[in-house]
């Protein structure tokens, strides 16, 4: 088992190193000079060649590519991800601020999706008839609805028309907990709609499948009520595929909050990455990608190890 775990970790470390190299090369191959961008933010930005050269030197971009790569690699391996070209903030600090915000948003969206999706899907399977048909239509719409469209509708209704919730933005919990919670509600709902629809559909089909199992009929013939059988046996057994769906969904959400963050002006990790790519802020792009890569590789290692625990044949 130890050899298996070590082998998995070794592959993981190799993957992270590969990602580090690929992202470094990709960034430097894409056209664009960060120094010129810093000095040319829109109109009036005809910087002098001296100014551009000075900023390039300041950022270390005048060094040979191999030197830059070595500095980047050695920094990353020692936990020093560098500083943002744009505002001088330590990249690890920026990620430390942004990642929890995205996790919080994804966490709340997941909670809403599960709390709404599971009972909804279960009820649709159990009740059938018109309720099931309506559920099928609504969940189809929910899955297909672009998040930026639904987000804009939420803003229109709850912010601009009713004035109940902020149209976007962010407030630190420590500064204003009430506003912190308020600004989370609409983006979380926007993010949760598609997810809840998927969960509901998965729950519905899983429950329908279980309802036709022989042991359900057996339980009924033993005198258990329909509701008892449903709650105690059918629903519980139906949740395995739903849990898998939720797990995959959370992973997908982590990487796809960018549109919601844009519509609601929410300063999360995705918007940091997009802003950094646009500004060719190499250290920030590299730092965020490394973080995401490490997260994904770690999750994969954990899953692989769990498979190994559950099924000894996998360890070979």
């Amino acid at each position: 088992m130890t050899t298996y775990v070590l082998r998995r970790i070794g592959v993981g470390v190799g993957l992270v190193l590969l990602v580090l190299t690929l992202i470094f090369l990709a960034l430097h191959l894409v056209p664009g000079d960060p120094a010129m961008l810093l000095l040319s933010q829109g109109d009036g930005g005809s910087a002098t060649p001296e100014a551009v050269a000075r900023v390039r030197a300041q950022l270390g971009l005048d060094q040979p590519l191999l030197t830059q790569y070595w500095q980047f690699l050695s920094g990353a391996l020692t936990g020093d991800l560098g500083e943002s070209f744009r505002n001088g903030q330590a990249v690890s600090e920026a990620i430390g601020e942004r990642l929890p915000r995205t996790l919080e948003l994804v966490g709340l969206a997941t909670l809403i999706a599960v709390v709404v999706g599971v009972p909804w899907g279960a009820l649709a399977a159990r009740k059938g008839g018109w309720f099931d048909s309506v559920t099928s239509v609504l969940t189809s719409i929910g899955v297909a609805l672009p998040v930026f469209v639904f987000g804009s509708v939420l803003i229109l209704v709850f912010s601009l028309e009713l004035g109940l919730l902020p149209a976007g933005g962010f407030a630190e919990w420590g500064d204003d907990p009430n506003r912190h919670a308020q600004v989370l509600i609409l983006p979380a709902i926007a993010l949760a709609v598609g997810f809840a629809s998927t969960v509901a559909r998965m729950t519905r089909s899983a429950v329908l499948e279980m309802l036709h199992q022989d042991w359900v009929r057996t339980a009924r013939s033993l005198g258990l009520s329909r509701r008892a059988v449903f709650r105690k046996y059918v629903l519980r057994n139906s949740l395995t595929p739903v849990v898998t769906t939720v797990g995959i969904g959370v992973g997908t959400l982590l990487g796809s909050t960018v549109l919601v963050e844009k519509v609601f002006n929410y300063p999360g990790l995705s918007s940091l990455l997009v802003e950094a790519v646009t500004a060719r802020d190499y250290p920030v792009v590299q730092g965020v990608v490394i973080t995401i890569a490490v997260l994904f590789v770690s999750i994969n290692i954990i899953v692989d190890v769990l498979y190994g625990v559950l099924d000894p044949r996998v360890r070979r």
Binding site: D33, L39, G44, S46, T48, A51, Q58, P166, R231, N265
Partner: protein, 521 residues
């Protein structure tokens, strides 16, 4: 048995129902406690939605409008702009000009920086000498290169002598980047956050916003009514407009054109628009058809400026058939009519240049700024009409900069402002090193000489004559082909009073007028 199951199920259901009800009530309570209708604003605090997060502040260097906005609040130079856009003394209490090349500035008494250190004539000398040194890469070099000497006569008096007269010199000193800063800030590594402006940075929250507090050491602190400016970054134009309309913020900059009607039509919201930057076509003149001035002139006559304005700005702006000139009665009518929309004339010019059947060319724009892409599409159509087969190249802004600086294009669409309104801003289009937003490989010493004569002129007649000569040459040599000026808008709640969107290129310096701004809730 059945009863028992049912009871248990009901019992189990109750807490969940209660929890859901509690969650719903909590959401409604949260919504009711403050909501989005501006109820959380404190008296004396202006909540501002800024269109971008400022980069590390570096005075002397032009870093874009968002950074300029912050500079207008925390810094001051010797000169500034008042609420009507007039040039007035800033840190200087007065300025005397005993002769056209000598300026004597008398500073306000007791000036200090926001870190408490005194601001003296020596700081003025050191700051301006730093910006005037080409090695330091300051954008102000165009205006400060005329300085022959700076003398700190006393703690509160500075004398600046120019090598030649310059009727733009004082305006350069009012540019937000011409801030007077402590000596310790005069290097490439120190963020220039210590200034002598009306506000000081109290807190910065990267990616979210910053809080600026009134600086009591400001020379005109008694006139400053705002206690605090709470800046939030809203990079997206729609999100920014939503924030204002919903009452999340009191004021925003850079209202995007598609939001003009919505924002302007909202009760309780004012939209203040002024003609600002100009759009134009630049050329690669190193070889090919555009090396020929006749072809460039043909392009200038081929552009349907009304169409371009509608396509890119929903007609919020003005067609530009010449160059942008300052609001100066003496220069009225000078340089404003160089080319009209005349496709027949354009085709004649192309034939005269030896291209009666047209030719193919690439037009560089950018996909990142929709208005530049839309302008390019309109220009593409106009040029197709006279036989120039144009292929659009629209990389992101970074790619656009790199291709523009390398001359990797035949034609390009750009937008720009002068850092001053004085026509000397045009010098950078006809002389000096290539950059991304001027015609690649282009130089015209005759135009440069005439513009310089205008800059040096000490009487109106000589000034007008110099610019007329410059623009006669401009019309036929076509360093760039103008398209339009676009409206640049700020918007604010009715609660905000005293703010002015300054006209022309100064629209980006309108933050200066927050000195006179108040908010009544």
């Amino acid at each position: 048995m059945r009863t028992s199951f049912t009871s248990r199920l009901r019992a189990a259901a109750r807490p969940r129902t209660a929890a859901l009800t509690a969650a719903a009530v909590a959401s409604m309570t949260l919504a009711a406690c403050g909501g989005g209708s501006g109820s959380s604003g404190d008296p004396g605090t202006l909540r501002f939605g800024l269109s971008a997060e400022p980069v590390t502040l570096t005075t002397g260097v032009w870093q874009g409008s968002a950074t300029n906005f912050v500079l207008t609040l925390i810094h001051r130079g010797l000169m500034t702009l008042d609420e009507s856009g007039e040039l007035v003394p800033g840190l200087a209490a007065s300025v005397d000009t005993p002769d056209p090349t000598t300026y004597v500035f008398t500073l306000h008494e007791g000036l200090t920086f926001s870190d408490g250190s005194p601001l003296t004539a020596t700081n003025v000398k050191n700051s301006l000498e730093y910006y005037a040194n080409p090695d330091n890469g300051s954008t102000l070099i165009a205006g400060l290169q005329d300085i022959a000497s700076i003398t700190a006569d006393s703690d509160t008096q500075v004398t600046i002598t120019l090598e030649a007269p310059s009727n733009a010199f004082l305006e350069f000193l009012a540019v937000p980047t011409a801030a007077i800063v402590p000596d310790a800030s005069l290097n490439a590594d120190t963020p220039n956050i210590v200034g002598a402006g009306p506000f000081e940075i109290e807190e910065q929250n990267e990616g979210v916003g910053m809080t600026l507090a009134k600086f009591d050491g400001f020379y005109d602190a008694d006139e400053v009514e705002l206690d605090e400016i709470d800046v939030s970054y809203y990079a997206d134009g729609d999100a920014r407009a939503n924030a204002l309309v919903s009452g999340d913020v009191d004021m925003i900059d850079y209202v995007t054109w598609e939001n003009f009607d919505r924002v302007g039509g909202t009760d309780g919201v004012e939209l203040a628009a002024q003609p600002g930057p100009f759009q134009y076509v630049q050329f690669n003149v190193t070889d090919g058809p555009f090396a020929d001035p006749l072809v460039r002139e043909a392009v200038a006559y081929a552009i349907n400026r009304d169409n371009a304005l509608t396509a890119a700005f929903q007609s919020n702006g003005e067609p530009l058939e010449g160059v942008v000139m300052p609001e100066d009665a003496t220069l009225e009518g000078v340089g404003d009519q160089l080319w009209t929309y005349d496709p027949d004339r354009a085709q004649e010019l192309l034939a005269e240049a030896g291209y009666p059947d047209g030719f193919s060319a690439t037009l560089l724009a950018t996909s990142q700024y929709t208005f530049l892409q839309d302008t390019a599409l309109s220009v593409q159509q106009d040029l197709q009409a006279i036989g120039i087969d144009v292929t659009l190249d629209a990389p992101d802004w970074s790619g656009r900069l790199e291709k523009g600086a390398a001359g990797d294009y035949d034609l390009a669409v750009s937008g720009d402002v002068g850092i001053v309104t004085n026509p000397t801003y045009l010098l950078s289009f006809v002389q000096g090193p290539d950059n991304f937003n001027r015609s690649f490989g282009y130089a015209n010493e005759e135009i440069a000489a005439a513009l310089t004569d205008g800059l040096r002129a000490t009487d109106d007649a000589a000034r007008v004559a110099a610019y007329e000569e410059a623009f006669d040459l401009f019309a036929t040599d076509v360093p760039f082909a103008s398209i339009d000026t676009r409206d640049q808008a700020w918007a604010y709640s009715d609660d905000v009073e005293g703010f002015t969107n300054l006209p022309g290129f100064h629209t980006f310096f309108s933050g200066y007028t927050l000195v006179n701004t108040s908010i009544e809730r």
